[in-house]
Subunit: 376 residues, 2 copies
């Protein structure tokens, strides 16, 4: 850490992204404990936080068995000493060339595929060291994004074509149960956990019945893994990522509590707009973002000011935010220019992605500055 | 440029941000010409593009007379040899300390203030070299964000307090007419141009009548400066920034044409989701962003696929986008996995802010890679 760096979060230049060390540690420990108690391997996803330091924390210091969302992350974490990396997006011709380079450099890289295209892609582009590509088949258990439908005929066909390929080591099945974000409450999340587990096991059974081994059966979304169910003990791997930070969107359905959120955007009041009855803060959409807000949801739920339920973010321009009263008029004198405010972001992944530095604090003391990787 | 860098935009790894050199040059030239023909000094804003190379282009090679939106940009452009920098956000105690350091390092920095607080802030925190702070007063001419109301009593009071301060060189008035983004058509934009010019001049006259000189009277928004009116010749400075890229949002009211947009996000089809009848592309909200979409506007207008009016971005997760048909069903066979698509972003400022590199191309040839600054 540079000597010039402020020693307390109150002294930090705003806007900036601050990470509470105690909550960070607790979130990391909790997920390690959850996985262990269910007998499931934790393969934490690096996509949300993208730093070596927090990655190490998420793996319990082992630097092993992680998921990444971009080739850039695979390179970054590999250079940082991480082993056993699953590149968890459907593999395509363009990206497999980078994967070939990565394994040549010694990365223990695993791929994901969703279709016959993916199988052909691996067959046509062998590992440069002559070893087999280790790969998982992505399954759609109801979320409806990527992956082959768990109950489709294609599942067995694609699984068979991969397991029969000379240069593919078919590991098993993976799913992302992102539908847990849309659940209404904890019971809703847990229903999705159970149906996802059932469907994954059903899919694995159909493959096994056809002579195709499934050593890995994995799922992972932060709401799901934050609120696990006993049925998840039937799985072999979890790959959540956002749990290390948690966020405001997940307080809506009980996936995390406000007190579980490790991240905040620090901002300051820089002006009073008396005629419009709002505060101007130095946090605009390049520091907070609307992304993750669902269509039609409006501004109301987009963030929360810690300790100030009376405040509402009315809107943002590039570098400025407008803050009004949640109801009625705001007493501007309560918030003099210079007042520091802390915002819980709506969606951790996007807000984190906007910041070149994360300031880690222990209470009021800034103890570290972590630098996430960027790009694809 | 690294030797490894692809030579054509088709070979670039996706998702990535590409900038069309010809359109970039044309946009730069056009704004220099507009300003010159109206006899107004162009002080281009660096906030949208944030690179030294494009900054130089925007200033016609002079590297002089620019606006910035963050202290970080002031440092970055100063180190890059740029002179005469206006730090165009309301100055506050926390940031004036950085400004003191900047002027100590030789930066010709100008400040902006909006209130008595700002005047006091400059009075209490003098320039370390004993010179006066050059500063402009931000005026609200109807946009309703920051700035003192053009017709308020406070305007004269604040202007007077600044002009009477021993250590302030009161330059004049600045406004941001961001309401032009919400205009319905070119006539609407031009009405705002005229009323903004009238109101700024009215405000300047009230100051002059009170013995306060206003050498600078400036306005700037890309819609306004892209569609100028003769009345704008009454002003002294323009400070638009987004015009160098332009974007899709501004095609809605005619502030720019699609053919004026210099930027696109390049993406590839990486999967077919047959059961849901959509394509999966490798562009999610960390590469494109929903920010800039107005509340309730929905997804329909959030981007446009160049040459493919039949496609619609249905939604995005962190690293993936779902593309469906604008109407009816999509013929997935028309878009094999690997197909490259180019997206015009909705709002240039936010999408640019997500990318660590801009690939500059001349036709299909990638000629340069510019690296924008980030942070505050």
């Amino acid at each position: 850490m540079s000597k010039q760096q402020p020693k307390t979060i109150q002294e930090l230049l705003t806007p900036c992204f601050v990470v509470d060390k105690l909550i960070l540690n607790r979130n990391a420990e909790k997920m390690l404990h959850t996985s262990k108690s269910l007998g499931v391997q934790l393969r934490p996803h690096m996509k949300t936080q993208k730093t070596l330091e927090i990655g190490e924390l998420m793996t319990g210091g082992t630097k092993s068995t992680i998921c990444v969302s971009t080739a850039n992350e695979a390179i970054f974490f590999s250079k940082g000493g991480f082993k056993d990396i699953l590149y968890a997006v459907p593999i395509s011709e363009q990206k497999i060339h980078i994967c070939q380079k990565l394994v040549k450099e010694g990365v223990d890289l695993k791929l994901m595929f969703t279709s016959y295209y993916g199988v052909e892609c691996m067959k046509k582009n062998p590992r440069p060291d002559g070893a087999k590509w280790s790969a998982v088949l992505e399954v759609d258990c109801g979320y409806g994004r990527t992956g082959v439908e768990f109950d489709s005929d294609e599942l067995v066909g694609i699984g068979k074509s991969a397991s029969e390929a000379d240069n593919i080591d078919f590991m098993g099945l993976y799913t992302h149960c992102g539908d847990t974000y849309d659940a209404k409450n904890v019971a809703g999340i847990q229903n999705i956990n159970d149906s996802t587990s059932d469907r994954l096991n059903e899919a694995a059974k159909r493959l096994t019945d056809n002579g195709i081994k499934c050593l890995v059966i994995g799922t992972g979304s932060t709401p799901g893994c934050n609120q696990p169910t006993p049925k998840m003990a039937n799985l072999t791997e979890f790959h959540p990522g956002c749990y290390i930070f948690n966020d405001l969107s997940m307080t809506m359905n009980g996936a995390n509590l406000i007190s579980d959120i490790a991240i905040r955007v620090a901002t300051r009041v820089i002006d009073h707009k008396k005629s419009k009855n709002y505060l101007i803060i130095d946090c605009g959409f390049t520091a907070l973002s609307l992304d993750g807000i669902q269509d039609g949801m409006g501004y109301e739920g987009m963030c929360s000011f810690q300790g100030h339920p009376e405040l509402k973010l009315k809107g943002m321009t590039q570098e400025l935010g407008k803050v009004s009263a949640a109801s009625g008029t705001i007493d501007l004198n309560r918030y003099p220019i210079g007042t520091i405010l802390f915002i819980y972001p709506w969606h951790a992944c996007h807000t984190a992605a906007l910041h070149p530095v994360y300031y880690v604090h222990d209470g009021d003391n800034v103890t570290d500055a972590y630098r996430p990787t960027r790009g694809w």
